[in-house]
Subunit: 344 residues, 2 copies
């Protein structure tokens, strides 16, 4: 049956049900995963567990061999759980967090609304929901290696009238401390290629959405040099949407890891380290003041706070009235953050 | 007339109109201040300019003599301005900010509502307003010296029907890194004495409000060991309210500066410094996620961002799953933050 369907069930049945390469056992019992293999909830959980494992291994390859991800498998009293993988104070990665969560239960409608960018009206006050997502932020030690963030997620909400809604959301975005245009072009091209496999309109649309979303409004500057961002993604069949999200998630490693490899041993000064810490302060400002995912998490009962705030850097710095001098690489980056541009 | 009134107009007319001791010229032209000397807007501006100067001098006495406050006098395009005083990377004070702002203009009603804790209904959509306030956060270098924050403010809003509303708000609260109970008792006693001069019910009420307000909900712990906090303060004559606020503002120096004097030369370890930085991360979490004043500022057009975010520490730190070991001074503090107690 699976082979005949011609979709990713093939992978799921053959290679993907080998969960031995995952960072931990999936959240859902293996017997349920096998039984419900055609259910999108299962397909998404299997995808994000695999993406997590692949990304963690790829990062470990760039790290001191003695430093491995610590793996926390946790459960949520209200339903579901997750797997949180963290490296802290590594040689390459000052902080690297890759979190999978697969949760379900009853959600207040306000919380559901906070997850949808524009959203259809949801009917009902407290709604059964399911959410499976992978979320990751990598803060490298070397200021010449950019920070990356990605998040891919799938939601189901059942309304009071019994109607089930589903949608995908996600994105990948880059936050350099020093601008290397070639690197930014490589990053954006990789994401564009992933998008173009599905629809030539996706990259321009989701690139723009990314610039708009990751805006530190009170400073009128973007968090970084963007990437792609989308929400309420449901315009095609569930299967087509899933395939698109899968392509995006699979493009994280080729978009980012080459930049780590290229710069992780670059020499740097203490002034450059200082600039990196100031920019990390701005990262904290965005995540705590604006990021919908973070806010949703902080306001959700039973949320695992440490997995949400794992996105914050080890160190951040604030300096009153700091402004880089004209003509410096720091000023060049600031200029780009204030005026996002097309990279390809 | 002023002498006969038996209120603080006496000070205003005699000593307080000597603005030479202020950190900068008041925001409002001196001629207007003199002309409108009985207007609460003027009395509040004069009070907060004096409190700023007194507090800055008192802090400078505890600092390396070569390190003085830098003073920025700024204007707001939409009306009014302020005086921001900052010490950064001092011997005693890693960051000390004392900001006065006296602003007016038209405010969207949502912004006005955000400033009122419970608030009467305001009639109208865009309302003329006036706000004068002093706000300060002191982050000392030595982990044995606590952080202090205070803010005292006066608002006027004119509703669409012409009715003018006014209220005061404010508070002072302490955030130690290591708990010295005697110090906390000194701090709370000083605030209690200031309150008790006006109403024996104030301290218990405003102490409780402070514990409730400065709660980092997602961690279920208080930001510090509290103090006093109040908003929508308008239950008496304007003059009586002002006198109470004046007593509170004048109690900042005696409540806090002795603690700086006592501990600023205490020896400390790098582990204690590390703990201080982790606690500062929590301070950032509160200020960016919950603090109404900060949020109000970040969402107000024309706000001076650097004066709002001056409350953030120079350095902050986040560590995944950090938890102090049982029986340590760090665990003792954490216990108190999770279970606020009565200090006097």
């Amino acid at each position: 049956v699976a082979a005949a369907s011609g979709n990713t069930n093939v992978d799921v049945l053959t290679s993907s049900f080998d969960v031995s390469s995952f960072m931990a056992e999936p959240v859902t019992p293996l017997s349920t995963l096998v039984k419900d293999k055609d259910d999108m909830k299962v397909k998404m959980e299997m995808l994000i567990m695999k993406i997590q494992a692949d990304f963690c291994r790829a990062l470990e390859n760039e790290e001191d061999p003695s430093k491995k991800f610590i793996v926390d498998r946790w459960t949520r009293a209200e339903g579901g759980g997750g797997v949180t993988c963290v490296i802290q104070n590594g040689k390459t990665f000052e902080k690297a967090g890759v979190n999978v969560s697969v949760v379900h239960g009853i959600l207040p409608v306000d919380a559901v609304r906070q997850m949808k960018a524009r959203g259809k009206e949801l009917i009902g006050k407290e709604l059964p929901f399911f959410a499976a997502g992978i979320s990751s932020v990598i803060h490298p030690s070397n200021p010449h290696v950019p920070t990356v963030h990605f998040n891919y997620r799938y939601f189901e909400v059942t309304q009071e009238n019994g109607e089930k809604m589903w949608w995908f959301g996600g994105g990948t975005d880059l936050t350099p401390y020093y601008l290397v245009e070639e690197d930014v072009r490589h990053f954006h091209s990789t994401l564009k290629n992933a998008c173009d496999q599905h629809d030539a309109g996706y990259y321009p649309k989701f690139k723009k959405w990314c610039d708009e979303y990751f805006l530190v409004s009170h400073r009128n500057e973007c968090r970084g040099v963007g990437g792609i961002f989308f929400d309420d993604f449901e315009m095609h069949s569930q299967e087509d949407c899933f395939k698109f999200v899968k392509s995006c998630a699979e493009s994280v490693i080729p978009s980012y890891v080459p930049l780590v490899k290229k710069h992780r041993n670059d020499p740097y000064t203490s002034a450059e380290r200082d600039w990196q810490l100031l920019r990390r302060g701005r990262y904290v400002e965005f995540n705590l003041v604006y990021d919908r995912g973070t806010k949703f998490g902080l306001y959700t009962p039973g949320a695992r706070i440490e997995s949400i705030l794992m996105s914050l850097p080890v160190y951040a710095k604030w300096e009153y009235m700091h402004s880089p001098s004209d003509g410096t690489p720091e000023a060049k980056l600031t200029e780009i953050l204030k005026n996002p541009k097309e990279w390809i």
